[in-house]
Symmetry: C2
Subunit: 322 residues, 2 copies
Amino acid sequence: MTSEFAFIEALRAIATDPAARGLDDDAAVIEIGGEKLVLTMDTVVEGVHFLPADPPADVAWKLVAVNVSDLAAKAAQPLGCLYSHALGEAAWDAAFLVGLRAAADHFALPLLGGDTVRMPEGAPRSFSLTALGRGPHGCPVPSRSGARPGDRVWVSGTIGDSGVGLALLDGKLNAATLSAENARWLSQRYRRPSPVPALGAALGPMVNAMMDISDGLLVDARRMAGASAVRIVLGLESVPLSRALRETAGQDRAARIAAVTAGDDYCLLFTAPPERTAGIREAAAGLGCEVNAVGVVVKGDGLTLMHDDEPVPLPERLGYQH
Amino acid sequence: MTSEFAFIEALRAIATDPAARGLDDDAAVIEIGGEKLVLTMDTVVEGVHFLPADPPADVAWKLVAVNVSDLAAKAAQPLGCLYSHALGEAAWDAAFLVGLRAAADHFALPLLGGDTVRMPEGAPRSFSLTALGRGPHGCPVPSRSGARPGDRVWVSGTIGDSGVGLALLDGKLNAATLSAENARWLSQRYRRPSPVPALGAALGPMVNAMMDISDGLLVDARRMAGASAVRIVLGLESVPLSRALRETAGQDRAARIAAVTAGDDYCLLFTAPPERTAGIREAAAGLGCEVNAVGVVVKGDGLTLMHDDEPVPLPERLGYQH
């Protein structure tokens, strides 16, 4: 047991209020004035979640986007955010605010407050953001734990793009091996994820379980299976890959395994009964979003991976694991 | 203009939503489902807001308390909090949680969620907390900007205790010069501030302006005067000093100036028409709290300091100034 894991267990023992959802979900949900308020908080630290050389505007965008992704996964409409800023070099901070403003506008998540703090000399930058959203009316706020045997498993968007973008930015993938357009698009997918709260909100009444994919499809699907006490069976061949990813990494089994274990997708993972299929496709199409069925929920526990009806051993690393 | 000041000006240009209150208040206020939700966020950084040798449980307590103090100043009842924890040494972190739990219980502010992050080697610890409260029914959420000429100016609690406690803990004040009981009590005032949300809630309908005193009575009173476009006149002789402070530092003008420029009081500063006097005293007495009238609001701007009806030049340092 890592000390982080032990610490989170100790936190769970404190967070006994039902609104905390056992700290097992993407967000907290409190009821106030007949509304459901959805709350999430994420922190990014220089040298851990971003690099000193990353463009500050992209760091800010991503900080907003990862929180919006949690709201989307809870079918919540963005209401606003508070954030805490560790002051550093003035030009860097000013550029950060350009990205913050762009993201706040893009996601309709107005800045409501927060804190600015001075840091000791040489300390890494760190930023925390709390996002608030208004939960759905007429249906529960989707949780990770509602998946039921018989459900289909779905994802929104395309999987693995961010992982390739990161490899490119890290220099692990040679930029000369792909087109400038693909390189730009894949890097952007890593630096400026674009969750779609309207899609989450439209799906809310139709799903049994929903969460965002932040650490990798496999590890997040296994978490959903665990929270729901079911087994999830994923078909690798059904996992949607973008044209840019296919042109760069191909679409053989190795490429697909890489895609489903890469993190930072900020797509939705959800399950719903088969009779919801048409409604789900219609809702997504109405918003110009892609959704794809990638598996099924069955009795049991854990995660099973298939490829063209053939079982595939789970890779040792399912994604980014805390 | 410091770069921090310039940065906050740039933030204000982004935070144009009315709920942000121009980033000029202690908290943001959004309306949802006919309720007023009060939101505040504070960050503490090792080496800036606390020292590596500080007891971790006290660091956690104070992080909760400073946020609760903001809720109290907005007449809000605590609803819950989210917090972000920078992981460090396991024993330190475990001790931190003991203080967090104690404070969450004491202030009835359940932990609802948050984030835990790993830090680069050698980075200072930092913790952010977002607190939510339910604003008052039947009256507006008090702001800093409502003080009106003719109002009396009040403070809750006693002023300056934390400053003496800090001097003691810092070694700037020789512990041998005061009783063990006073030393313990004054240190505790610094390490475990105890704002009283029930007092803020009771005062809410009676006040014209309210804020918490976090950076020093003088600097905070001047901020209130500025936000309200009035002049505040404070009488040093009326500023309530605790017995422990009087026994330690005396109560002459120098001791009083030290008290009103020390920070970390986490008391309430509020103004109300004279006809509210009996109601205010009654509300405070009912909660076992001390309140004292310490000045008046007049037309004009800025802050005037008096002592026994004699004008006193403002000290160069009014408190902790950002």
